[in-house]
C-alpha cells in the first residue's frame, strides 16, 4: 500500500511538472489562434529597425488608401508605415522633439499625416512621398511641417479627425483642454476643459482624468470623457463644448477615476467604447443613451477597439502590469469571446508575445493591427474570420 502510494505520488509529480513546463496544446488554448495572427518587426532587423526603447507603439491609423501609419513613444518617437500588400513595416524617420504620440495620429482625406506630440504639444504634418522608394535611415529626422501648439504649455494627449470637415480635435495634458485645429485655416482653438481638477486620491496622484481617445459621430459631433467619467460633447454647429449628464460604465464608486480608453464609430451610427475599468458600452449619440455591455475580460482597461467587416467588434484589454488579451463582441447576438493572449508562435523562426498593447486599428481589407507598447515592440496582424457586410 505504501509503495503504491509512493508510485502514485511520483506519477502525479511527473505529470504535473511536465504539464507546467512544456508549451503544449494547453498553451495554445490560452493564446490567439495561430492561424489568425502574425507579427512584424518595426523595420528590417537587425539594423534598419526602430530601436528598442523607442518602439513602443502608441498610435495607429489607417489612411484612405489603406496604408497603416503608426507612431511610437520612448526615448524618441518614430513614424512608420505599413503597406498591407507590400507586407513589411517601413520606418519613416524620427519625429523630432517628440517622446510620445498617444492616440494622436490622424490622416486627412488628402493623405496628409498629422501628428500630435508630447511633451512639446505641437501638431506636425507629414506628407507622404514615394515612401517605399526611399532608403531606410534609422534616426533620420522626418521631414514635417510644424503647425504650432494648439494649447500653450500643454502636451497633446489624443487626437481625432473629421475628414469631411477638415477638422482635427484633441485633448491636452495635464490641463485636459479640448481643442480644435482647422486644416484649411491652420487655426487652433482652445474650446475648454473636460476636467477641472484631479480626482480625490493619494497625494502622489495629481493627474486629471480624461479619455485616451476622442470620436466623431456621423453628425460631426465630437465626444470625449472627462472628470467623473462623464461624457463631453462638442457640437460644431453650436461651437460649444458641453458636459453631458452621462457617465461611462464603471465599478460603482470608481467613477471619478474611470475614463474611456477606446472609442469606435460603428456604421450604424452607434458609438462603442471601452473604459479603464474594463467595461464595453454602446452609446447612442442622438438619443444620448449609454448601454453597459458588461466586461469582456476579468482584467482592467480596453486599450483598443475596432470593428471588423461583418460587424463583429474586436478589442484588447489588460493594464500596464498585466498580460493583454484579445476579445471579440458580436453586437447582433450580444456574445463575447475571449480569444487569448497576443502571441505569435512561428518556431523555429520567431516567437513573441505582447503584454501591453498601445494601439489598435482595422485596415481596409479587414486585417486588424495591434501595436505593442513595450521596450521592445512589434506590430501584430490579426486576421478575423471573414464577415459579410
Amino acid at each position: 500500500m505504501r509503495r503504491r502510494y509512493i508510485l502514485c505520488a511520483i506519477s502525479f509529480m511527473i505529470f504535473t511538472a511536465a504539464a507546467c513546463c512544456q508549451r503544449d496544446l494547453a498553451y495554445d488554448n490560452v493564446v490567439v489562434p495561430q492561424d489568425r495572427i502574425d507579427a512584424r518587426p518595426l523595420g528590417y532587423p537587425p539594423i534598419d529597425v526602430i530601436p528598442d526603447e523607442e518602439s513602443g507603439n502608441t498610435s495607429l491609423t489607417v489612411a484612405p488608401n489603406g496604408d497603416v501609419y503608426g507612431a511610437t513613444s520612448g526615448e524618441r518617437a518614430h513614424l512608420f508605415v505599413f503597406n498591407p500588400r507590400h507586407g513589411y513595416v517601413r520606418p519613416l524617420g524620427v519625429i523630432a522633439g517628440a517622446r510620445s504620440v498617444s492616440n494622436a495620429l490622424v490622416v486627412s482625406g488628402e493623405g496628409d499625416v498629422y501628428i500630435g506630440t508630447a511633451p512639446e504639444g505641437t501638431i506636425l504634418k507629414y506628407t507622404p512621398l514615394r515612401e517605399y522608394q526611399q532608403p531606410i535611415q534609422i534616426g533620420k529626422p522626418l521631414t514635417m511641417t510644424n503647425l504650432g501648439k494648439p494649447v500653450p504649455d500643454e502636451s497633446i494627449a489624443a487626437m481625432t479627425i473629421d475628414r469631411g470637415a477638415g477638422m482635427i480635435y484633441g485633448l491636452t495634458s495635464p490641463g485636459a483642454h479640448f481643442f480644435r485645429y482647422s486644416i484649411a485655416t491652420g487655426k487652433s482653438t482652445d474650446l475648454g476643459v473636460v476636467a477641472e481638477k484631479a480626482p480625490f486620491g493619494e497625494r502622489f496622484e495629481k493627474n486629471k482624468i480624461m479619455s485616451r481617445m476622442l470620436v466623431v459621430d456621423q453628425q460631426g459631433e465630437v465626444f470625449a470623457s472627462g472628470e467623473n467619467g462623464s461624457l463631453f460633447r462638442f457640437d460644431p454647429k453650436k461651437q460649444r463644448l458641453e458636459k453631458l449628464d452621462l457617465q461611462v460604465p464603471a465599478v460603482p464608486g470608481r467613477e471619478s477615476w474611470n475614463r474611456v480608453d477606446a472609442f469606435l464609430l460603428d456604421p450604424s451610427g452607434m458609438i462603442y467604447g471601452g473604459t479603464s475599468d474594463g467595461y464595453l458600452f454602446r452609446f447612442d449619440p442622438v438619443k444620448l443613451a449609454i448601454v453597459n455591455l458588461g466586461k469582456p475580460l476579468s482584467q482592467d482597461r480596453i486599450d483598443g477597439l475596432v470593428r471588423a467587416p461583418g460587424g463583429r467588434l474586436y478589442g484588447v484589454g489588460g493594464d500596464q502590469q498585466d498580460m493583454a488579451r484579445v476579445f471579440s463582441y458580436d453586437p447582433s447576438a450580444g456574445v463575447y469571446e475571449v480569444l487569448g493572449f497576443v502571441d505569435v508562435n512561428r518556431r523555429p523562426y520567431y516567437t513573441w508575445q505582447a503584454y501591453v498593447i498601445g494601439a489598435m486599428a482595422c485596415g481596409l481589407d479587414g486585417t486588424i493591427y495591434l501595436g505593442e507598447n513595450e521596450r521592445i515592440s512589434k506590430l501584430y496582424l490579426f486576421y478575423p474570420p471573414a464577415g459579410e457586410e
Partner: protein, 478 residues
C-alpha cells in the same frame, strides 16, 4: 531560523536494505556508431531484403562496439555529497548556489506548488541549516497567494557580508493566474545576514513577476534581475531603496538564465538571436552590442521544454584575471570567451564544447546546465548532463560528466561520470560555485537509494526517485 542539526560524519554509509525498486542503476550512454552505420547504407529497391554481407557487417559492428565498451572502463570522478535533511520534497535548484567568503555554501531550494527554502551548508561544522521558507521570510505566509517557491538566480555577497538575492514563483498555470488574487504576488528582493542569521525583506520589485535570472553587484550595491514572464530588466539599489524597471529585454520563452557582471559593475546578458546587451550603471542605460554568440542553427524540433530556446548563453562566469567572461551557450553547450573590451567583431571566441563527447555532435546534445565555475587552478569546471536534464522533466537517469577546460593550456577534458562514494550517479546539476579553499560545489539530483523513504522525494526522473543534494568536489579546484 531552523537549524536542522544534522551533523555529518566523514564516512558515507549505504543502506543495503533500501527498497530495491528505488535502486535503479544509472543508464550508460548508448553509442551512436551502429546507428550511423545503418544510416549510411545505400538505398535499395527492396529495403526489407538484406544481403548476407550486410548482416555480417552489421553484426560485426555491433560486436566491436559491445566489445570495446566491455573493455573500456568507465572513467569516473567521485564527489562527496550532503542532502538537505527535512527538505526531501524540494524538487529543483537553478543557479542559486554561492559560497561566501565565510566558506559557507548558500543554497536556494525550489519547490513547485509549495515554499522554497534558503539553506546554507557550513563545512566547518559539517551541518546544513535551513534559514526558512521563502514565503514566510517574505511575510506572505497565510495570504493564500502563489508561494515564493524558488530562488532561481545567483546569490551575491555584499561588502557588508550579507548575501543578496531575489525570490521567484513556481507554477505559472499557463499565465492564467497572472495578475490575479491567487496568482504569484511578485519577487522579493532580500538579504541574509550570516552574522545575525536574519533575513531582511526589501519588498516586491515587480508585481506578479518572478526573478528567474539575477546577479548582485557589490560595487554598486545592487540586485539585478530579469523577470519572468515579461522579461524585464530590473534592479534594486540597496543603498537608496530604489526599485527600477528598465523594460523588456526578450520573450518569456528565451530569457537568458545568467547575468554577468564585470569588475566595473557593468551588467551583461544575452537576448534575441545570440545577441548581448550591457547595462551601464553610470548612465542607467542598456546598450545592445554587435557581438554574437556561437549559436548552432536550429534544426528539427526536439520537443524540448518550450522555454529552452537555444538562442542565448546559458551561463557565464567573470574572470578577474583575464577580465573576460567564459560561458556556455544553450544550443550545443559551446564554450566561449567574451571580452567586453575587445574591438567589435573579436569579442566572442569559441573555445570548445562542454558536452559529453558521445553526444557532442548530435542534434539532441543535452541542454546546457547552469553548472559552470572557475576553479583556483584556472580551470573551468562544468557538470554536463548525460541526458537532457531538468529534474522531473529529465530525459533519463543518466550520470553527469565533469568537464574541465584549462584556461592556461586550452585543454578540454572529460573527467568522467560523476559518482558518489557509494557508487550512485549524479543525475544532473544546475548550479556550481568555487569556495575560497578551492572546493567546488554543485547542486543537483541524486537517486534516492539509501535515503529513508519516509522523508519523501523531490520527484522522479523517468521512474527513478531523486532528491536534491549538494555535491562536493574536493582537491580539484586548487
Amino acid at each position: 531560523m531552523q537549524s536542522l542539526q544534522q551533523n555529518y560524519t566523514s564516512a558515507i554509509t549505504v543502506d543495503a536494505s533500501a527498497d530495491a525498486e528505488l535502486q535503479a542503476p544509472p543508464r550508460r550512454l548508448k553509442g551512436s556508431a551502429v546507428k550511423r552505420k545503418r544510416d549510411r547504407r545505400p538505398r535499395r529497391v527492396f529495403p526489407h531484403i538484406c544481403t548476407i554481407r550486410t548482416i555480417q557487417v552489421t553484426l560485426a559492428a555491433i560486436v566491436c562496439v559491445v566489445a570495446m565498451r566491455a573493455q573500456t572502463p568507465v572513467k569516473t570522478v567521485t564527489v562527496d555529497y550532503r542532502t538537505f535533511p527535512g527538505l526531501a520534497n524540494m524538487d529543483g535548484n537553478w543557479a542559486a548556489l554561492k559560497v561566501g567568503t565565510d566558506g559557507k555554501a548558500y543554497v536556494g531550494l525550489a519547490c513547485h506548488g509549495c515554499n522554497g527554502h534558503l539553506v546554507y551548508y557550513d563545512p566547518a561544522r559539517d551541518n546544513m541549516v535551513d534559514v526558512g521558507d521563502l514565503t514566510s521570510l517574505s511575510g506572505e505566509k497565510g495570504l493564500g497567494e502563489g508561494p515564493q517557491s524558488k530562488i532561481h538566480a545567483k546569490f551575491g555577497e555584499g561588502k557588508d557580508g550579507r548575501i543578496y538575492f531575489a525570490t521567484h514563483g513556481g507554477w505559472w498555470f499557463d499565465y492564467a493566474r497572472f495578475g490575479t488574487r491567487e496568482g504569484y504576488p511578485g519577487s522579493h528582493y532580500m538579504a541574509f545576514d550570516p552574522k545575525t542569521g536574519k533575513v531582511e525583506d526589501f519588498g516586491i520589485g515587480t508585481r506578479f513577476e518572478g526573478v528567474n535570472t539575477g546577479a548582485y553587484d557589490p560595487k554598486f550595491n545592487r540586485i539585478y534581475g530579469l523577470t519572468h514572464p515579461r522579461a524585464h530588466f530590473i534592479y534594486y539599489d540597496v543603498a537608496t531603496g530604489k526599485k527600477v524597471d528598465k523594460g523588456r529585454i526578450n520573450n518569456w520563452d528565451s530569457i537568458c538564465r545568467t547575468l554577468g557582471i564585470d569588475d566595473d559593475g557593468n551588467v551583461y546578458g544575452s537576448f534575441g538571436a545570440g545577441q548581448i546587451f550591457v547595462y551601464d550603471p553610470r548612465t542607467d542605460a542598456i546598450r545592445e552590442l554587435d557581438a554574437r554568440l556561437p549559436i548552432r542553427e536550429k534544426g528539427i524540433s526536439l520537443g524540448r521544454d518550450y522555454d529552452k530556446s537555444e538562442t542565448a548563453w546559458r551561463t557565464v562566469v567573470w574572470d578577474h584575471e583575464t577580465r573576460k567572461f567564459y560561458g556556455v551557450e544553450e544550443s550545443a553547450s559551446t564554450l566561449f570567451s567574451f571580452d567586453p573590451a575587445a574591438p567589435p567583431g573579436s569579442q566572442v571566441k569559441v573555445l570548445g564544447q562542454m558536452a559529453v563527447a558521445a553526444l557532442a555532435a548530435q542534434r539532441n546534445v543535452p541542454y546546457a546546465t547552469l553548472s559552470l565555475t572557475l576553479g583556483h587552478d584556472r580551470k573551468l569546471y562544468f557538470a554536463a548532463a548525460g541526458a537532457e536534464f531538468d529534474y522531473v522533466s529529465s530525459a533519463g537517469a543518466v550520470a553527469s560528466h565533469l568537464i574541465t577546460y584549462d584556461l592556461r593550456t586550452g585543454k578540454l577534458e572529460d573527467e568522467g561520470e560523476m559518482h558518489l562514494p557509494d557508487g550512485r550517479a549524479v543525475l544532473g546539476t544546475n548550479s556550481a560555485d568555487t569556495a575560497p579553499d578551492g572546493t567546488i560545489y554543485f547542486i543537483g539530483a541524486v537517486g534516492a537509494k539509501g535515503d529513508p523513504p519516509s522523508e519523501g522525494y523531490g520527484g522522479a526522473i523517468q521512474g527513478t526517485p531523486f532528491r536534491l543534494a549538494l555535491f562536493i568536489l574536493r582537491g580539484k579546484g586548487n
